[in-house]
Symmetry: C2
Subunit: 386 residues, 2 copies
Amino acid sequence: MNNTTFNFTLNAQNNNARSGTIQLSRGEINTPIFMPVGTYGAVKSLDVQDLKELGAQIILGNTFHLNLRPGLDVISRFKGLHNFNNWQAPILTDSGGFQVFSLGKLRKITENGVEFRSPINGDKHTITPEKSIDIQHQLGSDIIMAFDECTPYPSDYSTVEQSMHLSMRWAKRCYDYHHQNTNDYGTRRGVLFPIVQGGMHLDLRKNSIDMLHEIEQSRSNTTFPGIAIGGLSVGEPMEKMYQVLNELMPIMPTEKPRYLMGVGQPLDILHAISCGVDMFDCVLPSRNARNGHLFTWKGVIKLRNARYKTDENPIDSDCSCLCCRNYSRAYLHHLDKINESLGDRLCTIHNLHFYLDLVKQARNAIIEQNFEQFHHQNKHLHTPIS
Amino acid sequence: MNNTTFNFTLNAQNNNARSGTIQLSRGEINTPIFMPVGTYGAVKSLDVQDLKELGAQIILGNTFHLNLRPGLDVISRFKGLHNFNNWQAPILTDSGGFQVFSLGKLRKITENGVEFRSPINGDKHTITPEKSIDIQHQLGSDIIMAFDECTPYPSDYSTVEQSMHLSMRWAKRCYDYHHQNTNDYGTRRGVLFPIVQGGMHLDLRKNSIDMLHEIEQSRSNTTFPGIAIGGLSVGEPMEKMYQVLNELMPIMPTEKPRYLMGVGQPLDILHAISCGVDMFDCVLPSRNARNGHLFTWKGVIKLRNARYKTDENPIDSDCSCLCCRNYSRAYLHHLDKINESLGDRLCTIHNLHFYLDLVKQARNAIIEQNFEQFHHQNKHLHTPIS
């Protein structure tokens, strides 16, 4: 069985901002979309019912983490991640590259791939483009990411160039392996997204896009159905990232959904949408939630501030999430103070609700042809509430 | 406003086991009942929607903990705990006595009350019977517990005797303070339960019951609407506790609900129900859940056992809780391994569902006059599943 379904329809465009629909065999995704991160197969502290109530359409799984724990022996018993974590809508998996490169001294890069030692037990592992795709096949991922090198920032031009070239050679190997193999249980339905690299240099980014196009043309199979932008939000100043997006997006293929990996703050997302990005993921809303940093349409609430100790208001009186329907800032402040995991869950629900609402409102604004105004009206989203 | 409502109706009796209904202004409770423990105003990891879905009818709050965090200044802003934690059904609060006595060297007992140092910041506090009742009034508790000394086990006869006498003098002070005062916002609706002490000695237990009865008779106000059994499950062998219950219950007032404090294992609860106990609380189901100790009608599952690593079955295929409807033992085993709080929540939901089901099935068995058979059929509840 290999019933891969992938279809992307652009429904509306407002200047460079786009709204569309991705059809996958496990469900439809309305873009622009935000994808909550479920590193080890669970979006931290949330169950699948929570995610459904939030209106999540697709979640992310981390190949590197899932390969270590629970490991493919367990996932295979369930014929993939969906049956293991009971999330029956689409899952996008990253390639594991970003995590492997973050290991620093514990890893060694060669043309073949990356050797590294498990941060859990020190065991030696090798991950190659083929291995990454194979793991993602076994996970039963709906959107599979190519294995690439995430170029560090800052790096000199020739380092970025070599790194990008390596990623493009690996992208070709990913493409071939993906199209020539299925998983052990013959249920693969995933599609492969390659990743544009090239750091902060537009010419290298352009070369990267061209080289990915060459891969498609040199093969008789299908084209890449979507395309990701890697190597941003890696420590560069915000202005730099915005500049790269401003220059890069006009030369990206228009018929494919564009996924900006690991970004970011609400205003980064709105800026990227204004440039034409369609898909986002980031741990920020859930991680910040656990640190008492809460997003609202009126600005940021730092829950640990003593002023919230007796505050009877919900986080956001206009918000309809489980947290805001039931609880006050004072109660959440208390839960944070006693390290009660219920607080993590409620705050995560609120922040993810905000992020999913953010992209939904952006979608509507694009459809109604007033995204620019919407964007302009929300420049205060990072400012603490007064 | 002082609209105290309390009514206890016995609906069925099967040998010594009883089933009844407690009416309180915030809701009805069907007995025998188990009360989940919400130490700091939250049943660990659960929100109020979870508790409603579990069918919880009453939860417990800890006076000692809530008085320290968030403190009465915060609770008063909300005019009580119900508005703070948004649990609108009945709440029973303990007196704080048990926690204060657990402080060991940090506390000093006098006739007046107990002096102790806060385990959080070392501040000096004094808690007296009057102070305990006042805090419980401010919390807006529906069932208020008398402040007593929990006699340690083992203790010699005269120590137990003196301790019990002190508790009875304190019970009288609690009674008087309770009936002469309300809270700052005039919304008190709670009723006061006294606590029978006397350790493992039936004669002292009988004296204690008589002395409580004398308090009622010497006062022109209402009688105690319910009565608690303290000083059990404090380290004595199970047989000892069962023996005390066997001997004590026949001499307890029959017209009042009987609350066995801090008990216990499922079989302890079934034994106590067979003796005529009506109300229970214990941290065991929630604490055990967080340690991977799960209860089912077929026996105990120790989730950390490697055999569950790939087990595709739910904890209990006959269970209808959120956890069993959605997840396998293997997934829960994985969540435990990665220390993911979602696992704590799912396991807590399962164990509390089991406990609430246990008392519900007991109720039904009593009504159907086959409690003894039901009890006998479930002697294996503590045995690990094979």
